[in-house]
Amino acid sequence: MKKYITYRSHRWPVSFLLDRRSLAVTILLAMLTFFVVVVSTGIGELKIAPVDVLRSFFGAGDPAHSIIIQTFRLPRIFTALLVGAALGVAGAIMQGIIRNPLASPDMVGVTGGASVAAVAFITYVPTASIHWLPVAAFVGAGLITLLIYWLSWKDGVTPLRLVLIGVGLGAGLSALTNLMIVLSPIYLTSKAVIWMTGSVYGSNWTNVFTLLPWLAVLLPLAFIMARDVNVQQLGDDIAHGVGSRVEKQRFLLLLISVGLAGSGVAIGGAIGFVGLLAPHIARLLVGPAFGALLPVTACIGGLMVLLADLVARTAFSPLDLPVGIFTSAVGAPFFIYLLYKQRKA
């Protein structure tokens, strides 16, 4: 059997190779995701059997179940999935253009920008509607990225400078965040800290539908640019050599990554380690080619946040903990293990 399926359209200028293995992994993961969604919808204060969950999906379930599922559980689960997918893909793109396995939006200051904006919003305009919080976070992430990009510009932007300046600004931003938290009244503090840990508590359909368009636009866009990411991974010189417009593509990819990370962080708060880890796990499964990596990363990111949130809301019941604690608790040791393994390879 051939390793690739070749697709060539006779009408449109489109052609691509599909890796069989990646295709199989993607389909399997999609099925797994669906399965986890169904099961975790059933788990909670009130247990609902998976069959009943499915029935209620199709509008044929117990009305009491349907209300719980459709107004409380499903929005939260979808939010978790989408946030995870957005963060995961954002991390994958970032690792591609920076060419370093340790890069991710939370490392290079993007999330830091969102945190400053969100905490400023929480502490300085506590009376404003909470619906504007995502907007503030998104704007913060966007502005800080532009600032990082601008500061790294010096006859073009090298990935190295991008990382270093991002990390430096990130450290400065976290000092600013600390300042605002210290100066704010204590009842706002815990609100700010919850945001900074990352939580999908109390999500509703509005959250889902705010997030969905971003993913719907940016994920396909990232997919189209997959080839460029692959070329960028080879290094600037080679990318120039094969005719890539390196600088322009890097900026575009950065924007896509920040759009995804910003929207994810805006809804879910600063959930850590998903953007860093999901691409690594995906790479173990399907290898480094970006076209295959993208859907797999999205699934894995979504699964990570979904499962972490499942633990966060059930394991310490009645306490409903922020999901970010668990993504970090699982993510960090695993990440160290990955680094260790890479050394031997």
Binding site: I165, A171, L176, I325
Partner: protein, 336 residues
């Protein structure tokens, strides 16, 4: 490179001036503050103590604060030099490399799990946390295929910082009382510490200072490159480990007393280089002095800048340090 102090005589003179400036900063730190005091009261508080408010403030608040700022600043400056030499990274700093975050996490964890609340107890815990995270970052940073590159260790530091701070946040949410207690410590400050805390860590800081000066010569050799140093008969692993231990002692004792204060270690070596050039022994001495001056003046500024509230010192240094960091990152990398 043009160096301000080119021979030993001018260097000694420069160091003398720096030391005088340290003393001047300590004295101004004692006298200037929200509560106006005069030089006369400051002297009276020790020679002719009469128990007035001003004199008590000077004895119990201002003097400990000034001394702590001086010691912490000197330690941070030295740890910055050592880290930058050891990792060959012009951006090295206890804040960037995750040492501060590790200490913060250790303190918050201890407050939560063992309900420790005295600042003195924080000292030891912070020390342990700083040591642990320092080692982890160093190991993580040197794992990759290319070994210890500036980017990989910077990112390893950022990763450990992210990890520790998300755990810290999580723990603070579980226990809001603890949150209130550690919040100000977490922002980094030298105020409200007793002299006792300084005495606890001073021995370690002193060992660190002496160690830094002793290590200056071997490190100078090591800077020529690992192969050259080995060829000259140096046990490079020994020098590296000793440097690591001294860094932990310095950065650990600083964070233990003052909480996480970033960017002093980053800025100082870059300020000292144009003064004395590449001689590491002089660099050490000057770094200690300039570190103390920087932190003392930042602390005096922190009292006035957000009056009537006090700005956390860690935020002050970050505000000074971030633009500096960006400057160094832009300059340092383009040279390659």
């Amino acid at each position: 490179m043009k160096v301000l102090f080119s021979n030993s005589w001018s260097k000694s003179l420069g160091l003398l001036v720096a030391l005088l400036l340290v003393i001047a900063s300590i004295l101004s730190s004692i006298v200037f503050g929200v509560l106006d005091t005069t030089w006369q009261t400051a002297i009276d508080a020790y020679t002719n103590f009469s128990g007035t408010n001003e004199e008590i403030v000077i004895r119990d608040v201002r003097v400990p604060r000034a001394l702590i700022a001086a010691v912490v600043g000197a330690s941070l400056g030295l740890s910055g030099v050592l880290m930058q030499v050891l990792t060959r990274n012009p951006l090295a700093d206890p804040g960037i490399f995750g040492i501060n975050a590790g200490a913060s996490f250790a303190v918050v964890a201890a407050v939560n799990l063992f309900s420790i609340s005295s600042l003195t107890a924080f000292t030891w815990i912070a020390f342990a946390g700083a040591a642990l995270s320092g080692v982890v970052v160093y190991v993580l940073g040197s794992l990759g295929r290319n070994g210890l590159t500036p980017v990989s260790i910077t990112l390893a530091g950022a990763a450990i910082t992210a990890l520790c701070s998300s755990f810290t946040n999580g723990l603070m949410l579980l226990n809001e009382r603890a949150l209130e207690e550690v919040l100000f410590w977490l922002a980094g400050s030298v105020s409200g510490r007793s002299l006792e805390m300084l005495w606890t860590v001073l021995p370690y800081a002193l060992i660190g200072w002496v160690g830094a000066v002793i290590l200056a010569r071997p490190l100078q050799t090591l800077q020529l490159g690992e192969d050259v140093a080995k060829g000259l008969g140096q046990k490079t692993w020994l020098v590296k480990i000793a440097t690591g231990v001294v860094i932990i002692l310095l950065a650990g004792s600083a964070v233990a007393v003052a909480g996480p204060i970033a960017f002093v270690g980053l800025v100082i070596p870059h300020l000292v280089r144009p003064l004395v050039g590449n001689d590491l022994r002089w660099t050490m001495l000057f770094s200690a002095a300039l570190g103390a001056i920087l932190l003392l003046t930042a602390d005096i500024g922190a009292r006035f800048i957000a009056e009537p509230k006090e700005m956390p010192l860690g935020v002050m240094t970050a505000l000074i340090g971030t633009p500096f960091f960006v400057y160094v990152a832009r300059k340092g990398i383009s040279r390659k």
